[in-house]
């Protein structure tokens, strides 16, 4: 065990878990102030949204969800503006060519199912592979590993992930975990912030396997501390077996919410309700279920088991309903559902779908994939997995293998990936049937009012955005310049999909990709 300090409070923590896991376990959701000086808490729990910034041992603006607990850590809530110390040493100015440079045959960004498969396949064919992943351990989302090894044993999903990580290492893939790729320039040349300082990589081939992030759900009150993404709660549970104390309401659309509810229940947490936008499964879903069973019977059985667990624990299942608003109550939160029903909660998890994390691909100007081998429009660059389109872990792994084989072919090696192609087709069938099952009763539509925050980072409300649009800002870039929405620390990752709904559907690919795709500390560049 370890002890950390948050403000004046001492909190029991587990060595290795994330700071956010320790704070959430203690029910501490308020981490500082946002741009509007309102209380601010974590949202995505996966390093993308920047809503969980805290000061750790004097270093400001650190992501609580990515920082690892060390005994004796002193954590302070972050103010809206960073105080800088007066006694910092000036470094010598430097140029880019002073940064260390690696030139592997293949660079894989992302160590989830897709990236692991691509790396292992290419490496097994004799190609030199460097894999970089931002998380403390490779595995990505589906194969998320435990940060605290002394906890209850790994589940089947984690054991399968561990086996794939071991296979990659055994094949000779070089893995750099805890390293964030923040820049991508034509060449391609990528730049990462690693535990040993900045690193440039100029690979001969590049596979982007950066996965997905969760979509925002901009209803009134969604920025209140204690309202987090479903994936965030899942990460806290799977990496550190942490569940927030008190009543947990899980709401959204899709199987991740059901899985989270079942896992938390099994761990002894109090799940107060599951709110699902799709109607309850009924006779009209029989065909979809049949197709799913044919493609992946074990996954169907798993889903049924999750439902049975919820029923046994008498967790209210509110079907065909969407969260319409959240407000703070004397103790905790009140969640209002569009049917009018109100549910009390201490933590609300929102899971209304995923969006591909495509910022590196866009910074490199890669369109596509343009063929079945997952090649992009830029020679030597591949894109695979949920970073391209949401298809789930099995589709991701199959695509990774296919791309790995194509990379091998580029170096004159032949790898048979016929099995991966078959698996890909099968899991695509499963996915399309799955989403027929989860088709929402009504189109997903967060009921934002004028005061609802759309851009969390810059505190821009729906009202401001609508006014700007009505004044003629009909493109995303014009909206951004006029309101600052999308200019915050998350680089528009969370609000871009929301802004898109406000603009002409002119096929604009979103906000112009900007380097750095993750904020980068000036002191780390000078290091």
């Amino acid at each position: 065990m370890a002890a950390i300090r948050f403000g004046a409070q001492v909190i029991a923590a587990q060595e290795g878990e994330s700071v956010l896991a320790a704070l959430a376990g203690a029910g501490m959701w308020t981490l500082g102030e946002d741009a509007r000086r309102h209380p601010r808490g974590a949202w995505c729990g996966m390093g993308a949204c920047q809503a969980c910034l805290v000061t750790i041992d004097g270093v400001p603006a650190q992501r609580a969800c990515m920082a690892k607990v060390r005994d004796g850590m002193a954590i302070e809530p972050a103010a809206a503006r960073i105080e800088t110390a007066a006694d910092i040493v000036a470094a010598a100015p430097r140029r880019a060519d002073a940064l260390p440079l690696r030139t592997p045959d293949l660079l894989v960004v992302g160590g989830g199912p897709a990236g692991l498969a691509a790396a292992t396949t290419a490496r097994a064919a004799g190609i030199e592979v460097l894999l970089i992943d931002e998380r403390r351990q490779p595995g990505g989302q589906y194969f998320k590993q435990r940060d605290v090894a002394t906890l209850s044993p790994a589940d089947a999903q984690q054991r399968e992930g561990a086996a794939r990580i071991d296979a990659a290492l055994e094949a000779g893939v070089e893995m750099l975990a805890g390293a964030t790729v923040w820049g991508a320039f034509p060449g391609p040349e990528l730049v990462a912030d690693t535990p040993d300082g900045p690193l440039r990589v100029r690979p001969s081939a590049l596979v982007l396997a950066t996965g997905a992030i969760e979509r925002g759900w901009p209803v009134p009150g969604w920025t209140l501390p204690g309202v987090i993404a479903t994936g965030a709660a899942q990460t806290l549970w799977r990496t550190a077996r942490r569940a927030p104390p008190g009543r947990i309401v899980i709401a959204g659309n899709g199987p991740l919410n059901l899985q989270l509810a079942a896992e938390l229940l099994a761990g002894g947490a109090k799940v107060a309700a599951l709110v699902e936008a799709a109607p309850a499964p009924g006779p009209r879903h029989a065909r979809a279920l049949l197709k799913m069973s044919a493609a992946a019977p074990s996954l169907v059985a798993q889903g049924a088991a999750y439902r049975a667990r919820l029923a046994a624990a008498r967790v209210p299942l509110v079907s065909a309903a969407q969260v319409a608003a959240v407000r703070a109550a004397d103790a905790g939160l009140i969640v209002r559902v569009d049917t009018g029903r109100e549910i009390a909660a201490d933590t609300l998890c929102l899971g209304y779908g995923l969006a591909p994390a495509d910022e590196l691909a866009r910074a490199l100007g890669c369109a596509g994939p343009v063929d079945d081998a997952m090649r992009t429009s830029v020679d030597g660059i591949w894109r695979v997995g949920d970073g391209v389109a949401i298809g789930g872990a099995h589709v991701a792994a199959a695509q990774g293998m296919i791309a790995g084989a194509a990379v091998a072919a580029r170096f004159g090696r032949t790898v048979d990936c016929g099995a991966a192609k078959t698996a890909l087709a099968r899991h695509r069938r499963f996915q399309s049937a799955l989403w027929r099952l989860y088709a929402p009763a009504l189109p997903l539509d967060p009921s934002s009012d004028a005061d609802t925050v759309v851009c969390r980072c810059e505190g821009v409300t729906m009202g401001r955005l609508r006014t700007a649009r009505d004044e003629g800002c009909t493109s995303m870039s014009a909206l951004k310049l006029a309101t600052r929405a999308g200019m915050g620390a998350c680089q528009g990752r969370y609000c871009a999909t929301l802004l898109a709904g406000l603009t002409d559907a002119s096929g604009e690919p979103g906000l112009a990709p900007r380097v750095p795709v993750r904020p980068v500390r000036i002191g780390d560049l000078a290091r």
Binding site: G183, A478, M487, I522, L525
Partner: protein, 383 residues
């Protein structure tokens, strides 16, 4: 169908927007046509420059006498910004903090001393500060800095806030603005001009070319060889910090400009190159420019180390010959050019006022005389 307007302004940057607003204030009907890409205005850094910039002096030594001749204009331009912001009652983070140009050696300090003497002769309020002075008024500067030139007339403005406020002001006066219309060419027609655009023709009695780097191509048809070039530049901005850096900070010998906006964010630039865009694409950021400018900034202001860079961006500055190109095109009644000199955001509103007055036939034209487009007249050059 041909669209009609009384006055068309090509280019909706700081200059085009202000001209449109000034003309509308005088009761004129104005249509702004803007391509919407690669503007200096939407990418600019918000420094209000007055003293001669060492970057331009190094790059274009032959232009130094021209820069000196223009110095009073810069001071007036900053005063004009202040008056405009006060008159319109807009909050754009304008702050007259003074600007420091720092030196790291006796040699650089001597360069600043000579520069300050010339600037003082031109009527600027400048002084040379010692390290002890700096420790008092700019304690954020690192130990390498041995002295600086302070120009009291310099300051800063939040460019995003200013652009939004000025666009709203013009719109409120009835100015129409096409944000995504490229002007392909301009021809004369009876009673005015016919503009070919990528979305159909536009006909106007008067045309003002405020198209930054795009001006040269449009003016050529009228016997003007305005050498307007797009100069792609790289910028960085950090997350918000508590008040740290008061002044606009530049360097006597190195490419660095930095300042803290009212939002608390620190903007770091200084003329580092960006990657030129292909065709009409906007320019792209450069890794080397980012590393070089950020580490240089931390060298000058060590306390920047813990701040994170949130964003880099690139935009097209417009370079001509250092001097503005402002006023009527001889021999073509109703046609005007409006391209500001170096530090064109600082000069933007005042340049716009001078050209708007020329359009409206106000004043004696004395102030604009040194900047008339005639100097690029092909006929004149042939003679």
């Amino acid at each position: 169908m041909t669209r009609r307007a009384d006055t068309v302004v090509v280019g909706g940057g700081i200059v085009g927007t202000c001209i449109a607003g000034f003309l509308a204030e005088a009761g004129e009907g104005v249509l702004v046509l803007d391509h919407g890409h690669g503007a200096g205005t939407t990418s600019n850094a918000g420094s209000l420059h007055v003293q001669m910039q060492s970057r331009f002096m190094r790059l274009y030594p032959e232009a130094v006498p021209g820069m000196e001749a223009q110095l009073p204009l810069y001071r007036e331009a900053v005063a004009f910004w202040r008056d405009l912001v006060a008159r319109l009652g807009i909050d754009v983070g304008l702050a007259m903090t003074g600007g420091l140009m720092v030196a790291e050696s006796e040699e650089q300090l001597a360069f600043l001393g000579a520069k300050a003497a010339r600037e003082r002769a031109a009527g600027l309020e400048v002084e040379i500060l010692t390290r002890a002075d700096l420790t008092r008024i700019a304690p954020y500067l690192g130990p390498a800095i041995v002295g600086a030139e302070l120009c009291a007339d310099e300051g800063k403005v939040d460019p995003l806030a200013a652009n939004a406020a000025l666009a709203a002001w013009a719109a409120g006066l009835g100015v129409t603005r096409d944000r995504d219309r490229l002007v392909l060419g301009i021809d004369t027609e009876a009673g005015g001009y016919l503009l070919a655009t990528d979305r159909g023709p536009v006909s106007a009695r008067r045309v003002v070319l405020a198209a930054g780097w795009g001006t040269g191509a449009l003016a050529a048809r009228f016997g003007l060889a305005v050498p307007s070039r797009a100069e792609p530049l790289h910028m960085n901005i950090t997350e918000a910090a508590a008040p740290l850096i008061g002044h606009l900070v530049q360097h006597a010998d190195r490419m660095i400009t930095l300042k803290q906006l009212a939002s608390g964010q620190v903007v770091i630039g200084g003329g580092w190159p960006a990657r030129a865009g292909e065709g009409r694409d906007a320019p792209g950021v450069e890794l080397d420019s980012m590393i070089a400018s950020a580490t240089l900034a931390q060298h000058v202001v060590p306390a920047l180390a813990p701040l994170r860079i949130l964003r880099c961006w690139a935009g097209n500055n417009t370079a001509v010959d250092g001097r503005g190109v402002l006023g009527p095109v001889a021999g073509h009644p109703g046609l005007f050019v409006a391209v500001p000199g170096d530090a064109g955001y600082t000069l933007g509103p005042l340049s716009a006022r001078l050209v708007a007055d020329a359009v409206l036939g106000r004043g004696d034209g004395g102030a604009i005389a040194p900047y008339l487009p005639d100097r690029f007249s092909v006929a004149l050059a042939a003679r």
